[in-house]
Symmetry: C2
Subunit: 316 residues, 2 copies
């Protein structure tokens, strides 16, 4: 089993608490009627940098020894993890070297720069990301923080489920999306510890279904050719997250692009909150289930709210 | 001064508390930096029916004697007040006869019908509304609830400011939009009672500026030819609300259509919440101020979140 113990998750929560928001849990009678279950939405769209990624990034940056942190940190990301590492490094007073694909959105580049991140651009391929990251590390000596295949990141992401379980008693299940798997792994570990009878369900776009395929094959099958509007979930599952998944996740369910867009719209309309497509994948999967859902009280982690308001998916 | 005393507002709050949400107060460092003050957003977009109107409607419906309520209630409204009265009447188990202009949005008609409201359509003029309302009253004996020129409605709307003042200590000012003036009157009365040193500021679209003109002329000047995207604020100021305004409101500031759209977008982007154009008028007015704002801690009542997601104003 993972080395991320309850004590490590508890320490992570204490460590990051002064820097993150304790996000609210919202409900909607209208959505409950659609799904046929009681849903409790943990609103990480209200989190610092607009996404749960702040939890893992703060825990990873604050866990480094002074020697490890002396030359700053580095990561590669086109999205929320980049902004989260920049903010966490800024809070600790160390440099953040962020490798970003040149085709990252202007909003994402601006966010990283606003938190004092030092951006190095690369071509939009995994090979280019890793090559430029290696060059940055060689040049600066910065400490590399993997966005999800990292125990400190996993322990940080676990704290969202910790708060959800503290705030909502008697959950039958917790569902969250899976991309790299840091949030899923943390959620599964926290749930096994704090609400062991609850099922842990991963939701994944059918167009980026490596977790679903790997889980069912019980073998690590990396993603190729991912295509989904849920841009936070394009990435391949991390190896240590896959191992945790096999131990502690009960099911993976996939969902269509149409359902993701519809679920996103339902959340905006009924909860009156702004969430990004990746955050809507869990509700989409629940809405698309054809068989009744066994769980009656379901915690849903809404992962983030960073979306281009000029390009809403139901308006194209 | 108004007959809506602190005791009446306190009683209203107790009466409606089981039926409404105590809505959260959100903040945004990014918005504070834009405005140069600390803003505390009271999120009535999360209120029942998606707008503060639930407060006044519940108080008015629940304040009726059994004899007054026996034949149900009626009102005319194209918007949030209609849905709120339908919901409140449904909760009390009495009929709600809602007179709606035939050009009301399908979403609004659906909302009223979903709460069991019995809709009578009329031509979209004030004369037609009043004629059809009179016919409904004659036919059904239903009790007429004016959407804003009504003390029970004013006392109900006052409870939003009561909660805001309870949750945020030391406010220097409270700002809310003015249309018919029910929310403004209630806010002013609650603030005079609970936070007497705080200024009360009304925000109004320049395209529907009867409150601004009336306030400055110290004479009641009804609205004609209103034009604004803030569809909740097209209506004329109520007479009793004008009287309260002269006594208890410190300033009225107007704002442009462009600023309303920009402020709405800033709220969606930074607070990650869905608000309707009328709700953005207060922030728009603050953003458009050319002189520094004297108040440093400002409560902002975000009035509602009912918006057509297919027709966002920055995308036309």
């Amino acid at each position: 089993m993972s080395e991320v113990s309850p004590a490590i998750i508890r320490a992570a929560h204490r460590r990051i608490a002064p820097f993150i928001h304790r996000t609210p849990v919202l409900t909607s009678a209208r959505i409950d009627a659609i799904v046929g279950a009681q849903l409790f939405f943990k609103c990480e769209n209200f989190q610092k940098v607009g996404a749960f990624k702040a939890r893992g990034a703060f825990n990873a940056v604050l866990s480094l020894s002074d020697a490890e942190a002396a030359a700053g940190v580095t990561t590669h990301s086109s999205g929320n993890h980049a902004a989260a590492v920049a903010l966490a490094a800024c809070s600790r007073g160390i440099a953040a070297h962020i490798v970003m694909p040149s085709n990252s959105s202007q909003a994402k580049k601006d966010a990283v720069a606003a938190y004092g991140g030092l951006i190095s651009f690369c071509e939009p391929t995994l090979e280019a990301r890793e090559a430029v990251s290696a060059e940055v590390i060689a040049r600066t000596g910065a400490y590399f923080l993997h966005p999800y295949d990292n125990d400190a990141v996993i322990a940080g992401q676990a704290t969202a489920a910790v708060e959800l379980i503290e705030d909502v008693k008697g959950l039958d299940a917790i569902i969250c999306p899976v991309g790299g798997g840091g949030l899923l792994a943390g959620t599964a570990l926290a749930t096994r510890w704090l609400e062991p009878d609850a099922r842990v369900i991963a939701a994944e776009p059918a167009g980026a279904d490596d977790a679903w395929r790997s889980f069912n094959a019980r073998a690590f099958l990396p993603q190729t050719g991912a295509r989904t509007i849920a841009d936070g979930l394009l990435t391949s599952l991390g190896q240590r997250n896959f191992a945790i998944m096999l131990e502690a996740v009960d099911a993976v369910i996939t969902t269509s692009e149409a359902a993701i867009i519809e679920a996103m719209r339902v959340i905006w309309q009924s909860l009156k909150i702004v969430v990004e497509p990746s955050a809507a994948v869990s509700l989409a999967a629940l809405m698309e289930q054809t068989s009744p859902i066994a769980a009656q009280r379901i915690g849903v982690i809404l992962t983030g709210g960073n979306v281009d308001l000029d390009r809403l998916p139901w308006m194209v």
